[in-house]
Amino acid sequence: MSVMTYREAVARGLREEMRRDKNVYILGEEVGVWGGAYAVTRGFLDEFGPERVRDTPIAEMAIAGCAIGSAMMGMKPVAELMTINFAILALDQIGNHAAKLHHMFNGQITCPIVVRTAAGWGQLAATHSQSLEVWFAHLPGLKVVMPGTPADACGLIKAAIRDPDPVVFIENSKLYNRKDEVPDAEYLLPIGKSDIKRRGRHITLVSWGRMIHETLDAAEQLKAEGVEAEVIDLRTLRPLDFEPVAASVRKTNRAVIVEEGWLSFGVGAELAARIQEECFDHLDAPVGRVAALEVPLPYSKPLEAMCIPGAPQIIAAAKKTLYRG
């Protein structure tokens, strides 16, 4: 095991795959000379050269479309769309094209692209502070991966590059400096598999992406009050690995879903519906949801801090679900 940042873990996965397969290339804004807006691809231009590390104009639709066309030709593009707020400019290419081509053309065309993008916030105001994973997770044909730890990021970016389908790989700007252990040997994780990050028997907490850390903090604090929470990290939103969630809820009889995005029509809404469909007789309380306040995020620090939930809100929701004061 080596300790590395989330940034280094993504970079390691990308570098290993580029060394392994000459068809893998990176394109996006500032990925080359600059080294990536979040410095993930720093040094890549020197190692792999300008043919494989391609700076593009600020043109998200062209970046995504170029990735799609080259993937149809047998290449393995990794398109970096600097933040998820800009990624939605490419929603036509990702949603109307990448997600559809294989099915609509009856299997004749494959579209093995990876779209890397970053959610996150931090006094960036409304247009730069969104968690829009649900926009992509809604679409059949896409795979949507959202790792929260360095090891998961390393193992899943490698799997995303090897995957024959279009994968939207959502990082988080607030995670890039977070350190943790990553196995030294080559590390691949399956897309579409959740991970039980903490075992417990009183309540099931489900999260993904950056919020997995807030959720684990909450679980640790709940332990001091005698509550053993089970924490499931979805890691992939589509295809959703629901069975481990159902199995956990059948054991604990209680669930709280924790997300960084907005409450209405979110991933938590889908999960709560699935839990009541499949675990209705096992539930001892309504499914709880913790999510962002339904406002565009403001710049001002105290106002912004009101919007995104953390461990205190998760603990409160867990206690409500446990009927504890």
């Binding site: 066309g69 149809m72 036509d92 109307n96 053309f105 065309i109 995957d163 389908d165």
Partner: protein
């Protein structure tokens, strides 16, 4: 240009095949055998036939949703195309894509695409893939005048120019984006002039003349194949039918359309020219017309007799099957 008799007959036959195919599609649509949106290519046949004649097998095509004529010009099996319009299992995408999404990977025909302008960025990627793989193929990307106002047009021409990608952007200017005349929608009414913004050659051609289209396209293809980057070609043409089925055509006069039909019909014009130049005989025309009628009749019969796709195929190909996973 000097046109040999063999080529002349092939082009005439192909234009005629597109016309008769489209007329039959309109009839089948009226009877309810074809549904959804169906955009016919009647009036624009010379663009497809002239342009595709300038391509080689190693070249690639990506196009818009008024693409029955393009598919036929590239040599797609018309039985499969007609069956696709009928939504049948024997259609080129097994009834999944319909009229607007014809595809044949073996012919490098990467689809009709139905989001206006949405395939232009993809064209740049196909070209980039070709360039990286070191072949001398080029990409023909076809779109309408309406698409030249969408952001993706500009992003794609710019990227193709900056990266010197081998793409021929062929605009079929049929004067109306759906029902909006070019001058009502575009500040620059000569679409070819938009090439100047990206420092690439822009040229126009009479889209009702297959020989002119062929010659212009030959130059464009040579330019792209030589590694000199993209080209924009504007073919000036006209559709003799509505935008899609059931278009009341309030945006143009009957007189305007009749003028084009009387004096700008690409098939009549080409036929007259070949007769005047004594390149093709009246008997040869009659023979070809009869063959084409039979071929389209057979395609319609094939489509009628084919089964609809089985319900259990619906969930196939959401993901690549070897990868597993549920949607």
């Amino acid at each position: 240009m000097l046109l040999d008799s063999h080529t002349a007959r092939a082009w005439y036959r192909q234009m005629r095949l597109i016309r008769v195919f489209e007329e039959r599609a309109a009839q089948e649509y009226a009877k309810g055998h074809i549904g959804g949106f169906c955009h016919l290519y009647i009036g624009q046949e010379a663009v497809a036939v002239g342009a595709f004649a300038a391509l080689q097998p190693q070249d690639h095509i990506i196009t818009h949703y008024r693409e029955h004529g393009h598919a036929i010009a590239r040599g797609m099996d018309i039985n499969g195309v007609m069956a696709e319009l009928f939504g049948k299992a024997t259609g080129v995408t097994g009834g999944r894509g319909g009229s607007m999404h014809l595809v044949d990977k073996d012919l490098h025909f990467w689809g009709g695409h139905a989001i206006v302008g949405g395939h232009l960025p993809i064209a740049t990627g196909i070209a980039f893939g070709l360039k990286q793989q070191g072949g001398d193929g080029v990409v023909l990307c076809i779109f309408g005048d309406g698409a030249s106002n969408i952001g993706m047009f500009h992003e794609s021409l710019n990227l193709a120019a900056v990266w010197k990608l081998p793409v021929i952007f062929l605009c079929e200017n049929n004067r109306y984006g759906m029902g909006t005349a070019v001058a009502r929608a575009s500040a620059v009414t000569n679409i070819r002039d938009k090439a100047q913004a990206y420092n690439i050659p822009g040229t126009d051609v009479d889209g009702q003349d297959p020989e002119a289209v062929y010659e212009t396209m030959q130059n464009a293809v040579s330019h792209a194949r030589a590694g000199k980057g993209p080209v924009l070609v504007e073919a000036e043409t006209y559709r003799f039918v509505g935008h899609s089925m059931g278009d009341p055509e309030r945006y143009r006069t009957k007189e305007e359309r009749k003028e084009w039909q009387d004096h700008g019909d690409p098939i009549n014009r080409f036929r007259r020219s070949l007769e005047e130049r004594a390149i093709v005989t009246a008997e040869e025309f009659a023979g070809m017309d009869a063959e084409v009628d039979q071929q389209v009749e057979a395609a319609a019969r094939f489509a009628h007799e084919s089964p609809f796709p089985a319900g259990e195929t619906l969930h196939r190909h959401i993901y690549v099957e070897s990868a597993g996973g549920q949607p």
